[in-house]
């Protein structure tokens, strides 16, 4: 995916470059008619001579005036309407996910900011062959009437862009872009209902975004929206208009109809919601999918995460251009005032040092600084030691809850979690958390014939191989190939057309093939509690995992690849400003500070895993040794009795006595450093959970979460 996208971008850029000298430049710089000819001849040098002879006077294609007529503003919404892939609307499948994701993220942000335990309803229903209806409702504080059209009908409008605070949304593009996509593909308006109090009416809007003007156009209530009164009349009205509304004291519901495709498995809405549940144990999620299956992801904690604090930017993170703008926009009257008021961690001592280094007066008026002075100030900032920003503005999930969340969703026998102390990249504080789950039976082995039949019917993959890889988490291509080979089905057979007997065969082999060997690590990535599902190869998290040496922790790994084994790793990057590689928020950029923290966190859980695996191996070895002696002693006794005629059983008993004494000694001695070890005690430290693997459920994409009870093992 990632590479294809890059190629597209490059191509586009290249074609633009070719066009610029012809179209863009002449309007300003071109002095006479001679210039364009030169440009053209540069582009086609070979045809120059011939052209000159046959066509002495070249026809001008466009004049500066005619070109000027077509030069105008590009609205943000127009730009993103054309480049919707930048926002995660590349294809119908992803569009559906992005829409749900944006709506849910906004809801969670709103609830948490208002200090309400979030409860969210997600409703997806099919309305046409390629169109779906997505409704997302929360129990948040609601939105003021006059803000609704702007929030849902204008791109780049929001509360989160201008502040530095840990939140899911950042830019203020998401939900309005989703609405725009819906309008573009189906023509249906975005329907928004919002209620701010039980005594106030519900505001109801049908909004279409005007892409040319980047402004909302309201369709109902003569451009003013409708207020649905509370009480019985309101409920009747809502029913009549075919709107869904879970009656709440307050909350917001947004409904978008869009061209989409519903899938299961990797990169699906199911996966997103499931992963959201892992990282947000305080959220209650109700999910109705297009097959009318209802699922509830119950909250496992009643505690809201602490409210993240908003912080001022740190001087290190500011760029020159931004600094110059800030200097001119500030209301402060002196540089000293400006610096202490606009930035965090700038004390008067720091101001003194900065001004000294920049050789400017601290009492100078900020608006009077020249461009050059701003530049000097910028360099002074970069070269002066300023304390790191306060890091208490970040709210990690916490080891405890990571373990809880992972254990609920990922089957395993060993869980470990680590939260790193906060750190700083480019003046932005951030914090890394890692959770790891190991072992458990493979998802393919926990399947039932009925579930398999269902999965086979609803899949949109073309081959069984694809079906296996996409449906079962962490099942690598290797394991899929092994299953197919063992089942003797054709590789290119379509999963939908599988007959009963073949299905049974597939089921049997899925049960029997050991997929754990060759299965690669599954990585769950989160940024500010939002799961990242695409572009994993481009993400700093995946890259850091690949570059970490997992071999020393008892996993197999080829250089520069994900380690193999039944392992799931979840990584959470929390920050006031998560550095994404693109607006669609799919991958995290690889700042060295972030990579370092990631590595340290991964190593910390890796070490615990290593200790656990080593002990497991040791126990296995001891068992093996005992078995081996038992096996061989019988043979030896028989051979000896054949040679010298001693009683075989007598000798066997005697040898067994020696064997028992010997293994007992060996068991005691078996430690890496040659010290007697206590098997009972495994010093893994805190934040580790070991469960009996036989008690675990499955990890099939399809599985409803609620069916698993929280089982906390020994």
């Amino acid at each position: 995916m990632a590479t294809v996208k890059h190629k597209k971008k490059k191509k586009k850029r290249a074609s633009e470059k070719v066009r610029i000298p012809r179209n863009g430049q002449p309007a300003k710089e071109q002095p006479a008619g001679g210039e364009p000819a030169v440009h053209r001849s540069e582009e086609t040098p070979s045809s120059n001579g011939q052209d000159g002879q046959s066509q002495p006077t070249q026809r001008r294609r466009a004049t500066a005036q005619s070109m000027a007529a077509s030069q105008r503003d590009i609205s943000v919404s127009e730009f993103f309407a054309k480049n919707r892939h930048l926002l995660g609307f590349d294809n119908p499948r992803k569009a559906l996910l992005t829409t749900v994701k944006e709506a849910v993220d906004n809801s969670l942000d709103a609830c948490e900011e208002a200090g309400i335990l979030p409860e969210i309803w997600v409703h997806i229903a099919q309305t046409g062959k390629n169109s779906y209806h997505v409704g997302v409702q929360d129990n948040g504080p609601g939105i003021l009437k006059k803000q609704i059209p702007l929030i849902f009908g204008k791109l780049l409008y929001g509360s989160k862009f201008h502040r530095l605070r840990q939140s899911r949304g950042q830019q203020g593009i998401g939900i309005s872009a989703a609405g725009m996509y819906g309008v573009q593909t189906t023509g249906k308006p975005v329907k928004v209902l919002s209620k701010i109090s039980s005594r106030k009416p519900i505001h109801y809007y049908e909004i279409i975004i005007d892409t040319q003007k980047n402004k909302p156009r309201i369709l109902n209530g003569a451009g003013d929206g409708i207020d649905i009164p509370i009480g019985e009349t309101g409920i009747q009205y809502i029913k009549k208009h075919g709107i869904d509304w879970e009656d709440q004291k307050h909350g917001t519901r947004v409904t978008i109809e869009l061209e989409a495709r519903f899938i299961r498995g990797r990169g699906s809405v199911d996966e997103y919601l499931e992963q959201t549940a892992i990282a947000n144990p305080h959220v209650m999620l109700h999910y109705t999918d297009p097959d009318h299956t209802e699922r509830t992801y119950k909250r496992s904690t009643q505690l809201l995460p602490p409210e993240p604090k908003e912080i001022k930017p740190h001087p290190y993170g500011v760029e020159l251009g931004r600094l110059a703008t800030m200097l001119h926009e500030t209301g402060a009257t002196t540089i000293a005032q400006f610096l202490t008021a606009s930035f965090s961690r700038v004390s008067s001592a720091v101001v003194r040092r900065l001004c000294h280094a920049a050789k400017i007066s601290a009492r100078m008026h900020p608006k009077r600084t020249s461009r050059r002075e701003a530049e000097v100030l910028y360099h002074a900032i970069q070269n002066t030691k300023i304390p790191n920003p306060a890091t208490d503005c970040i709210c990690p999930i916490g080891e405890e809850l990571i373990l809880k969340g992972l254990h609920q969703v990922v089957p395993g026998e060993f869980y470990a979690a680590a939260t790193r102390p906060p750190s700083v990249y480019r003046g932005n504080p951030f914090q890394i958390e890692v959770g790891l789950a190991y072992g458990g039976s493979a998802p393919t082995q926990n399947i039932t014939p009925d579930l398999l039949a269902e999965l086979l019917e609803e899949t949109d993959t073309r081959t069984i191989r694809q079906f296996l890889i996409n449906t079962f988490n962490g099942l690598g291509a290797d394991a899929a190939d092994r299953i197919i080979k063992a089942s003797r089905l054709g590789t290119r057979q379509s999963p939908g057309k599988l007959k009963g007997a073949d299905r049974e065969k597939l089921y049997e082999t899925m049960k029997n093939v050991n997929v754990a060997e060759g299965q690669s690590m599954e990585v769950l990535r989160y940024a500010n509690r939002v799961p990242l599902q695409f572009q994993h190869a481009a993400c700093a998290i995946t890259q850091t995992i690949m570059n970490t040496n997992w071999r020393s922790y008892g996993l197999t790994q080829t250089r520069g690849a994900l380690p193999k084994g039944p392992v799931t790793v979840m990584v959470h990057v929390a920050s006031v400003w998560v550095p994404f590689t693109s607006e669609s928020k799919e991958a995290i950029a690889g700042y060295p500070e972030i990579q370092k923290e990631l590595r340290l966190a991964l190593q910390s859980v890796g070490r615990k895993l290593g200790m656990y695996l080593r002990r497991r191996l040791r126990v296995k070895h001891q068992g093996e040794r005992r078995n081996m002696f038992l096996r061989y002693v019988g043979e030896v006794a028989k051979a000896v009795s054949e040679v010298n005629g001693t009683d075989r059983l007598d000798l066997y008993d005697q040898l067994m006595k020696v064997a028992k004494r010997r293994t007992a000694e060996a068991d005691l001695r078996l430690d890496d450093r040659g010290q007697p070890i206590d098997d009972e005690e495994l010093k893994l430290g805190d934040h580790v959970l070991i469960v009996n693997p036989s008690e675990n459920g499955t990890a099939i994409q399809h599985r409803p979460l609620e069916s698993i009870d929280s089982k906390k093992g020994s």
Partner: protein, 388 residues
């Protein structure tokens, strides 16, 4: 009732070996004693609640030394302890005991078998597991060699033999297990040298040969036999199909020491050929304990030589470039103590490395089909041009 009778009849033949046991030879009695001694030590250790163990003389380069006086490779005194209650040695210990029991059975029954036969005799699934006692013959062969050195018994004393390899032809009359064999009348195939050629099995009756010419491969041997080289030069002609097996080496040893025939070797001019010569002359590292009765320090190396491309005017195309392995091997061989002091050998190997190619005996055929038998070897013998 009749059933019982039948069973008794069936049982009868199996009692025969038991009767034979009383008539077994002195040598077999010695073998039996050493085998029983091995088993008794296990019982004793078990009684004393001690780890049963055996000390196997180690058959490695580090445990052999070259005796300049005897001019053969001798085995040192290093041993490897093999314990039953040690993870890495348990299986090998069990296998050694199995081999011992198998040999005991062979000696008792007065039968011999090939080492492959013994492998099949002992191979079975260990009770209660899916594990085999021996999975391949490669696993079994070194254990047999261990047992030989451990007990100080030779392979034939354990009633074992390796697959026979190698032929002989020439003016000699033998008595092989009671059959009179005239090796001058063996047609094109020759007399297949058995694996066991001890005086009890093979006796020399009459010999008219003046020397023995040992060649490396069957193809070259065929050439000499077809040209009746042995008739013309009154010699015995042997080959060992590459590295000669024990039977061939032991026969050469007996021919040399009992009939006082000089041994000449015609081998390829490559590290492999040099090593074959080294084994015939000094004995092998692996079987150093048998050097005494196998090595022929007086054996001579007739060819091919590194100078033969120019000396015989061979065409360039017969050259085979040395590979990395050859070069490495040659550098090892040149440092063997028995080659180290010999200037002619040092020159020879250095020359080959300088040439950076090897020559096979067959290369001489490029000159003329019978060049090797009619000119090359006679000329070397006439000029007494060989390496020692």
């Amino acid at each position: 009732m009749p059933k019982k009778k039948i069973r008794m009849k069936v049982n009868l033949p199996s009692k025969h070996p038991a009767k034979k046991m009383k008539q077994i030879s002195q040598r077999d009695r010695k073998t039996r004693e050493s085998l029983i001694g091995l088993a008794d030590r296990v019982v004793q250790a078990a009684k004393q609640r001690k780890d049963p163990h055996i000390d196997v003389p180690s058959r490695t380069l580090s445990n052999v030394r070259y005796s300049p006086r005897k001019r053969i490779i001798e085995m040192g005194n290093n041993t490897n302890r093999r314990q039953l209650f040690n993870l890495s040695q348990a299986k090998a210990y069990m296998q050694t005991m199995l081999v011992a029991s198998g040999c005991k059975k062979l000696v008792d029954d007065g039968k011999t078998t090939s080492i492959r036969g013994l492998f099949y005799m002992l191979k079975h699934t260990i009770e209660g597991t899916k594990e085999e006692t021996f999975s391949t013959q490669d696993e079994c062969d070194p254990i047999i060699e261990d047992t030989e050195v451990l007990l100080g018994n030779l392979r034939e004393e354990l009633h074992l033999y390796a697959q026979k390899r190698g032929d002989m032809v020439g003016p000699i009359v033998l008595n092989d297990s009671g059959d009179q064999i005239d090796c001058a009348r063996m047609g094109s195939g020759g007399y297949g040298i058995p694996s066991i050629v001890e005086p009890e099995v093979v006796k020399f009756v009459r010999c008219d040969a003046k020397f023995v010419l040992h060649v490396e491969k069957a193809a070259v041997w065929q050439r000499f036999n077809e040209d009746k080289f042995w008739k013309k030069h009154k010699c015995l002609l042997t080959h060992g199909n590459g590295q000669p097996p024990r039977g061939v080496r032991r026969l050469l040893h007996r021919l040399h020491h009992e009939l006082e025939l000089p041994i000449y070797c015609l081998l390829d001019n490559d590290p492999w050929g040099y090593y074959i010569y080294s084994v015939i002359k000094q004995g092998s590292i692996n079987l150093a304990y048998e050097s005494q009765r196998m090595a022929i320090p007086e054996a001579r190396y007739l060819g091919l030589r590194s100078i033969d491309l120019e000396r015989c005017g061979l065409s360039e195309s017969v050259k085979i470039t040395l590979n990395e392995n050859d070069r490495k091997r040659a550098k090892q061989i040149v440092r063997y103590p028995w080659f180290e002091k010999k200037r002619s050998w040092q020159r020879e190997i250095k020359k080959m490395l300088e040439n950076d190619f090897k020559l096979e005996v067959e290369a001489l055929i490029s000159k003329d089909i019978s060049y090797v038998t009619e000119e090359y070897v006679p000329a070397r013998l006439r000029n007494r041009d060989w390496l020692d």
